[in-house]
């Protein structure tokens, strides 16, 4: 019910709307809940609305933490 997925904005449309892309699938969403979205931004889409922008730098930071954990877990590389 609260599922929401990250999609890339590929086109801004009139009426505070945009086209987003996820894995080649495009759909029209509303930008009524977020300001200043630009083409190329990733937004979190829920029931046809962008709830928020996704912060790529924070995503990288989190993934870096995961990679660190893996490096510790993995046997030392030859």
């Amino acid at each position: 019910m609260c599922l929401a997925i990250p999609a890339r904005v590929v086109e801004l449309l009139p009426d505070d709307a945009a086209t987003v892309d996820l894995g080649g699938v495009r759909r029209r969403i509303s930008l009524a809940l977020v300001d200043d979205v630009a083409v190329g931004d990733y937004v979190i889409v829920h029931v046809g609305y962008a709830l928020n922008r996704l912060d790529p730098a924070e995503a990288e930071r989190t993934l870096a933490l995961f990679a660190e954990a893996r490096a510790l877990a993995a046997p030392p590389q030859p």
Partner: protein, 369 residues
Amino acid sequence: MKYLDEFRDGGLARGLAAAIAREVDPARAYRLMEFCGGHTHAIARYGLTGLLPANIQLIHGPGCPVCVLPVGRLQMAIELALRPGVILASYGDMLRVPGAGGDSLLAARARGADVRMVYAVDDALALARRHPQREVVFFAIGFETTTPPTAVAIRRAAAEGLGNFSVFCNHVLTPPAMAAILDAPEGTRLDGIIGPAHVSTVIGTSPYAFVPERHGKPVMVAGFEPLDVLHAVRLLVAQLGAGHATVGNAYTRVVAEHGNRKAQALMDEVFTVREQFEWRGLGTLAHSALRIRECYAAFDAERRFAPAEVAVTEHKGCECPAILRGAKQPQDCRLFGGACTPEHPLGACMVSSEGACAAHYLYGRWRAA
């Protein structure tokens, strides 16, 4: 799929699982509640339990809007749907939730009610535009995630003068539910909470501050991808190991401390807090749900149609209430998998794949024993 596949990576999952195993205190038990059905679904769908040490126990919370809506409200929706001229639109899972005596919106449709499944509230607006001579009622359910889109739709209907559109509002609030859980006897036994993902996108992390403050337990906001859940578990284990209890954020790429202020303002413009509202499992909670403000009364189906409030009893023997409080597990219900299946659910938790019983039935019941 960028920002999805990375957070489902098997190699990274093994790394995180190894880190948790390393960092966990084998001498103690960790009772962590995943607040949301989205977490419940991810745990079952990806088999996360098998990756965690045995002393970490994940407990389903009440964060499934389909699950917490009491039968009485559903009966009101069924009553609305059966009125001549009405089209009742709702999100899919709601259609199969059992009401009084095994009734449901689907059963009402089979009896002639015009019930439509929509994927977005804007589809309900479109129905109202397409059928000007009908009354389109949107059966709105959901936490703060789903509420802002409903607010936008009501504003749009007002702007367009879409006189045949209205909303049967059942939007509920997360923090009061979390407080109720922690106040209950079962709640006191929890060690920490995996906090909402997309609710927090809207309201931020600050509304959970009462949890460490009043209850001394940590909350870790987490996304619904499986690595997000593992990440949150790891951070909770760390806090509990260090004897801390704060509101943490394991979903920083999306969630900010103060949430989405524009969405909050829109919600506030259209909705106001109800004095009280009944929740399945949690009873009647003060200031725990929203209703439509006076200025948008024309779009409020409760004012427009005044559906009768009926006192309805849940199915006897259904343990949903206890499961939603974290007091029981699906396998504790004697109806589970026998009288109650996803094909013939007796309780709401068996309907949506985010419901605890359905998740357990679909993904794990035969191997769990």
